[in-house]
Amino acid sequence: MKEFWIKNKLVIVIAVYAVLIIPGSYFSARLFLGRIIDTSDRIQESIMDDKLQESKISDIPRMEEISNNIGKNRDVMASMIEESMEIGFIKSLETLADDTGNEISLSVDDPEKDKATQKTAANSKDKQAEKGIKDSLSHAKFVSLNITLSGGYENMVDFVHKLENGKYYVNIISVDSRKNQQQSGSVNQGSGGIFINSGSSGQTENPSSEGDNPENIITTLSAVVYLQ
């Protein structure tokens, strides 16, 4: 053994040296190079960010102008009610009904049912053709409302028109309008249909052309009120 050591001492020392120095150098170099690349990347990012920020800083006056415009038009963008505004919205519907000469009663659909519909709408947007209006609504957050109106035809159309073009987005999903036969008597008594211009085509826009009994239509509107 001693003889082997004496004979191969040089080879063994060189081999041990090589085994230690080569991997040591390799891993140290990799470590340093990795750090250099990382730092260099960060500096490049920082330079790009600085350039971007400089261009943004030069844009501050324009951003300020846009921000002011947004501030001025904030009311226009508030076209969907917040949950805290529901009572106010219901009151506004009552006021609208009064203004348009209708009697109104409201009911809200089961919120759990709405959530299920909203979930369906959100989950299966690819089956548009097979879905009804309510299922294909893009905005998933809404409350379903049943609005029952009692009044004349012109009053009902006026209400619907103002509701459709009001401040808040309300989408009427379905309409069920029928003559109030309890008030108007039998259909067969010839008291007129729900349209005020039956037999006088083209006169519908004129409110003065209302029929003898303006309180003769009961209309149920199934609508959705969008929430923010």
Binding site: I43, K56, I57, I66
Partner: protein
């Protein structure tokens, strides 16, 4: 002896190379620190905060506008359709009820004569907003005092259009 010399020389070269790499890394780190410090400059940080506020406002506004656009694209306008429908009703026809489901509607009513009812059907057919106007043959058997039920489809584009007939807000 020569081997030890070469080993020491190689070791020295490796150490020098490592020192060189370390030096580069150190200089780069210093540069990075300087860049960070210059960004943290007080006057700039106020501007950056202002930019951040504006960007947050814009993002919020864009999100609201996006919501509004999607809601607006779904908006239906029934009032115009009622006017169109009422214009199609000739004398002698009383529509007693209208019931809609999605893009279809059922009209029920009473017609004084068969001709009046046919005229009503034709008027609905001639309106581009209505299609597949279906009046059962059984409703045309009687000559007068006819109770009828008409099924029809409503053109989606007509329902989504807010142009024409009624005044805009």
């Amino acid at each position: 002896m020569a081997a030890i010399f070469w080993e020491a020389a190689i070791l020295f070269a490796v150490v020098m190379a490592m020192a060189f790499l370390f030096g580069i890394n150190y200089v780069l780190s210093l540069n990075e620190d300087i860049a960070h410090e210059s960004r943290a400059n007080a006057s700039n940080s106020e501007k950056y905060a202002l930019i951040g506020k504006y960007e947050s406002d814009f993002s919020d506004a864009n999100s609201k506008i996006s919501d509004l656009l999607s809601v607006a694209s779904d908006q239906l306008y029934w009032s115009n359709l009622f006017i169109r429908m009422s214009r199609a009703v000739p004398g002698g026809v009383d529509v007693i009820s209208i019931s809609t489901k999605d893009y279809s509607a059922v009209l029920t009513g009473e017609a004084a004569t068969r001709d009046d009812l046919v005229a009503f059907k034709d008027a609905l057919n001639s309106d581009s907003c209505f299609s597949n106007v279906d009046l059962p043959l059984s409703d045309l058997v009687s000559r007068d005092n006819i109770d009828f039920e008409i099924n029809l489809n409503i053109n989606k584009d007509c329902l989504k259009s807010n142009e024409g007939i009624l005044d805009k807000k």
